[in-house]
């Protein structure tokens, strides 16, 4: 079958068609930045964005989420009912989806976390190619721009069109639904792109390098610039640590146990009741964050938990660049 293309000016229509069957989530501008949100007006979605402020994890692991409800009177603990609606994630960069897969691994590995996994059901992903900005470094962590793993459809960007490639049954259904918008595609191959932010070497051996670098001076040097604000954790698509607390609703017998995104950069993260803190030094925490990405947790295919989205680099007000830190170790 000859490949098809979606003209850029047909994007809103393509979204309208999706909206008939699905909740559509895509990137829209917020000031100078972009955010993922549920698309109400098909014209608000954009495929030309660098990265959003927060990654897709907010849809599966919301910043604050009730995990258990309780009643003081009837002495009951109950799980939240999670309703799953079919969702299309429209115009997603490949590293973004790779990050979701890393999270899937984390929430499936060992004990399965239903609260997360339920929300991962009935998701359709429509990918889009992107032009790396000064911060992206996905290629260095094994996610070249032409990696299309996991998408149902992938849109490759050309001047005035997107080449449409359906890769799953769901994807083909959508391609069919778009039928009347599509035109024959004259384009072949994937555009060549360059990353400015790059690791000196491939991630393959990085884990071992980390193990030998526990006392490397770079940790202290970085810690001098870091004020542990936690931004890097919050915006990271693969950071998933959370805190849990119980709240009783004043004047009632009802309450909830909620989890909330936490930051391992904060001093309290490892503080226990007796006052002991297990990563007291700032450089311990800086090292922990980066080690966790590249050496401590790996998915089933032994891939690191960093997808090179560059958010932590872009959004760190202290200008700490994880790639520079890695390169100092390599």
């Amino acid at each position: 079958m000859a490949s098809k293309a979606l003209p850029k000016d047909k994007i809103p229509q393509a979204v309208s068609i999706l909206k008939k069957q699905y909740k559509v989530i895509g990137a829209t501008p917020k000031g100078k930045n972009f955010v993922f949100k549920e698309i109400e007006d098909p014209n608000e979605v954009t495929l030309d964005y660098n990265t959003t402020i927060l990654p897709l994890k907010k849809f599966f692991l919301p910043p604050r989420e009730v995990i258990v409800e309780f009643n003081l009177q009837s002495k009951e603990y109950r799980g939240e009912d999670i309703k799953v609606e079919p969702k299309v994630f429209f115009g997603i960069h490949n590293y973004e989806l790779q990050a979701v897969f890393r999270l899937d691994f984390a929430f499936k590995n060992g004990v399965s976390d239903e609260t997360y996994l339920k929300k991962r059901e009935k998701n359709v992903f429509i990918g889009v190619s992107y032009i790396p900005d000064d911060f992206h470094f996905s290629e260095s962590v094994g996610i070249p721009t032409d990696l299309k793993e996991g998408f149902d459809i992938f849109l490759t960007r050309y001047d005035s069109h997107y080449r449409v490639e359906a890769m799953t049954e769901k994807g083909r259904e959508i391609e069919n639904a778009w039928e009347e918008l599509l035109v024959p595609c004259d384009y072949e191959g994937d555009p060549v792109v360059h990353f400015k932010n790059k690791l000196k070497q491939s991630v393959a051996g990085i884990r071992e390098i980390f193990h030998g670098a526990y006392n490397h001076p770079i940790w202290k040097e970085t810690a001098r610039k870091c004020y542990s604000c936690g931004t890097c954790n919050l915006v990271c698509p693969t950071c998933y640590c959370f805190d849990v607390s119980d709240e009783v609703i004043l004047g009632t017998d009802k309450g909830v146990r909620a989890r909330r995104w936490d930051s391992c950069q904060a001093l309290v993260f490892t503080k226990v009741a007796g006052g002991d803190v297990f990563r007291e030094k700032r450089y311990d925490r800086v090292r922990h964050r980066m080690s966790r990405k590249f050496a401590y947790i790996m998915d089933e295919k032994d891939r690191p938990f960093c997808v090179g989205c560059g958010r932590c680099v872009r959004q760190c007000t202290a200008d700490i660049n994880i790639v520079d830190v890695m390169n100092a170790l390599l």
Binding site: L54, R224, C226, Y227, C229, L250, A266, A318
Partner: protein, 251 residues
């Protein structure tokens, strides 16, 4: 169980925290069911002295304040400091790091020597404080949480991480993207990033995070075109009593 008797006392402050409680309209009547308010000068005429929980607002800035707070501490089983003035000295303490002579001169002119003044202090500088509701004004939702914790025998906890954590969770655009220096990275969270969420830089009213990296913060703000003297002013706006910008810190 009898209702715990609570009292509210205000010292040097703008009374915003008093109002903040009255602004809990939807919950006010519920709260009245749960506690017995015996002293709340702004709202009621009764003046009971048999309270168990004392909520203190305002900083201590006269010898009389000091006397009064000791008396309250002797009576109260639990003492909670409400709002930035009581928690960290707040805005009243700006003058503490100024030339005291100059402060008095601005105010009294030639009569400046007539009026000795004491520095504006946080409540915990003078007596033991059990719990805090930080903020200027204190956040009434947090006050509600603290109150409900006290009523259920819990230790009210306030966050120890930074405002950025809450700001990011709300997916706000960072003010630094617009070249505006914000105190969020080094300020204790709990307000839901109230100011950045409204497009205003955080000025640190909830106090600084426990493990402040002052030098890093200073370097960042300098990059964002605040002069050193303005950086100091920012730090001293609410946190005069808790940070010294005159000396360098080493890790």
């Amino acid at each position: 169980m009898s209702k715990p008797k609570v009292a509210f006392f205000d010292f040097t402050s703008c009374e915003g925290c008093q109002l903040s409680k009255l602004n809990l309209e939807d919950d006010l009547l519920d709260i009245l069911e749960l506690v017995d308010i015996v002293n709340f000068r702004e709202a009621i005429s009764d003046r009971g002295e048999d309270y168990e929980i004392a909520f203190i607002e305002g900083s201590l800035s006269t010898p009389h304040c000091i006397e009064r707070i000791h008396k309250i501490r002797r009576q109260a089983k639990i003492l909670v400091a409400l709002g930035a003035c009581a928690h960290i000295g707040g805005i009243n303490a700006i003058r503490n790091k100024m030339d005291q002579d100059e402060v008095r001169e601005t105010v009294y002119g030639k009569d400046k020597y007539l009026f000795p003044s004491i520095k504006a202090q946080a409540v915990s500088d003078v007596v033991k404080v059990d719990y805090y509701v930080p903020g200027c004004p204190m956040d009434n939702q947090e006050f509600k949480k603290v109150l409900s914790a006290l009523l259920t025998g819990k230790i009210p906890e306030i966050p120890e991480y930074s405002v950025c954590v809450e700001c990011k969770a709300k997916e706000n655009e960072c003010l630094y993207d617009y070249g505006i220096a914000c105190m969020g990275p080094i300020t204790r969270a709990g307000c839901g990033a109230a100011c950045p969420s409204n497009g205003h830089y955080c000025y640190g009213c909830r106090g600084l995070v426990p493990d402040l990296n002052k030098n890093a913060a200073k370097d960042v703000m300098e990059k964002y075109k605040l002069s050193m003297s303005q950086i100091k002013k920012r730090f001293y706006m609410f946190n005069t009593n808790y940070v010294n910008m005159e000396e360098k810190e080493y890790e």
